[in-house]
Amino acid sequence: ADLRVAAIVQSLDTEFNVLWANAAERHPLVQDGTIELTILDGRMDPFNQSNQFDTAINEGYDAIIFIPVDINAGNDPVARAMEAGVPVIGSNTLISDTDLYQSYISSNDVVAGEMLARSVIERLDGEGNVVIVEGMIGQSAQVQRLEGIQKVLAEYPGINVVETRTANWSRAEALTLVENWLISNGGNIQGVIAENDEMAIGALEAVKAYGLDPANVPVAGVDGITDALLAVQRGEMMSTLQDANALAQGAIDLAAAAAQGDSYEPRAEIWDVNGGSLEWGDGTEQQYSVPWVPVTADNVDELLALREGA
């Protein structure tokens, strides 16, 4: 291999990270062996990720792609790597000090929170009781999505948030939580805003088990995991797709560009130069933003078909 790239991800127990990793493996240069990609599983522990940085730096990788678990704890390892001359490319979630990155490619989680909240609230015409199921407290996705949700809520005084609590990104926890909320509110809940799809699916099951019709009680999540796509297809919930393909393959191209210099030609299909929608420029921008894709009845079949292939 010409280039060795390490990808330090949050956790390969979660579907989004798996989709990301699979997309990265499908990058043409990884496929043809030009890039040797090693994926290190952070197991949802910032300290573990910090240790993996040390290992990667010590191992002399040409570049590191990073999906941090924690927004603050990621700063220092990135600084260490850059100092050691190993370029770090951010992908998906970010560290708080993004200036430290060589470059980064992400989707804005605050925007995701806004889209999420808006989809539920608009279905309710701005009136009703909603609950918010939060992700693991302190993680950047939780912090930023909540920020977006609250921004939108401020615009709608008719919406009453009756419960807010974490279900730690877990479907089973969200299921129990929403079941209990439905009981305590006597079923008087009109919408569920869940910070990711796993929890949204749990909430959806709780809503159905309580005997409510999901058509009347909008449930929304973010990520676009397969179960969520299926639920959208059935018309039972709303979701916003986070484009794992663009985030992963884009990051690989950026890593290769950082290691090889200006002459590098991106290979992923997502870039405009290859017929995609994302602007490559000359590959030296610091920030690349991947738009969110709302999942709708119109595009869901197509998205699912893509997923089958993955």
């Binding site: 579907e15 877990s170 397969t226």
Partner: protein
């Protein structure tokens, strides 16, 4: 000569003392239950009781299995991973356009779970690896196997027949609750009335004495882990049916809840003392705390503090028993 009447009196007193102190945990549960009924009007509603029972059934089934293991003097940390693996297996059998027989899928989950449990059992009973280490290794291995099998992604699109196991009702009672009740009653009968039950207690109480008495101690130890595995597999099938897809990350940390239920119920981690009836009380205490605090809308942060405090308090009420031994 010791006066005979006196003596049997002493031992009767001792027994009554033990009984009273054993029911301390029941008392703790009753206090908790009454407090929550007063604190929230919906707590006692049929809907909520059904709800709580359904919520505790997964941990209940696991805790019953854990009772076997702990009574026999061991511990099993691997159940969360075994549950996940079995769930994926079951899920794979009932997904897609041509889903398989749901009963077969459940049987497969139980079988696969028992197999993993058997590996634990062999390591502990035959190769004398400390239970903690053997099952910790299995925790990691089975989780890795689960992720490998599922490629880290949920198995969606399960057949409605299969999902009935998690979501259906029979005579107004949720199916998971029925499953839990069956498992519980069976375990109670086995532990209380059968020869095998005596052996489990004997092996946990004093393995040397059991061996000297001709009890096949190795097989007994082995069997406890196999039973635990089978029940973890069953729980995995039910959980999968309940969460609509088989999740590779299911069951993370479930071992702690199951062990907690057993220990709160007063079954000694040293083995040989305890009862599956008290495990049930432990399961209910944990379940009711979670449900009650959600109902009351206690915020996340306080909820953890209160939950921890209640667990300790429940055992404090019950503590006299431990003080005796």
């Amino acid at each position: 000569m010791v006066d005979l009447a006196q003596k049997s009196n002493d031992s009767r007193n001792a027994r009554i003392g033990r009984l009273l102190s054993r029911y301390g945990i029941v008392l703790a549960f009753v206090i908790l239950f009454v407090a929550l009924s007063l604190a929230h009007p919906n707590f006692l509603s049929t809907g909520n009781i059904t709800n709580v029972l359904r919520q505790v059934s997964i941990n209940g089934i696991l805790a019953v299995g854990m009772t076997f293991v702990i009574l026999s003097g061991g511990i099993d940390l691997s159940i969360g991973s075994i549950l996940a693996f079995a769930g994926i297996v079951a899920g794979m059998l009932v997904t897609g356009a041509d889903p398989g027989n749901p009963f077969l899928a459940v049987a497969a989950a139980i079988g696969v779970g028992a197999l993993f449990g058997a590996v634990n059992g062999v390591l502990v009973a035959r190769f004398k690896v400390t239970a903690f280490v053997a099952t910790l290794g299995m925790l990691s291995m089975a989780r890795g196997a689960t992720l490998l099998l599922s490629d880290g992604r949920p198995v969606p699109n399960l057949s409605p027949d299969f999902r009935w196991l998690g979501q259906g009702f029979v005579a107004g009672i949720p199916v998971p609750v029925i499953c839990f009740a069956l498992v519980f009653v069976l375990a109670w009968i086995v532990l209380r009335f059968t020869i095998y039950g005596r052996w489990i207690y004997a092996v946990g109480g004093n393995v040397r004495s059991a061996r000297t008495s001709g009890i096949p101690t190795r097989s007994v130890t082995f069997s406890a882990y196999a039973i635990m595995g089978a029940l973890a597999g069953f729980a995995g099938a039910i959980l999968t049916a309940r969460t609509t897809s088989a999740l590779p990350q299911a069951g993370l940390g479930y071992e702690l809840d199951a062990i907690a239920a057993v220990v709160i119920g007063g079954t000694s981690l040293v083995g040989g003392v305890g009862s599956v009836v008290f495990t049930l009380v432990g399961v209910l205490i944990i379940g009711v705390i979670g449900n009650g605090l959600d109902l009351l809308g206690v915020s996340s942060y306080y909820q953890q503090i209160v939950k921890g405090a209640i667990i300790v308090a429940a055992v404090l009420i019950d503590r006299s028993r431990h003080a005796q031994s």
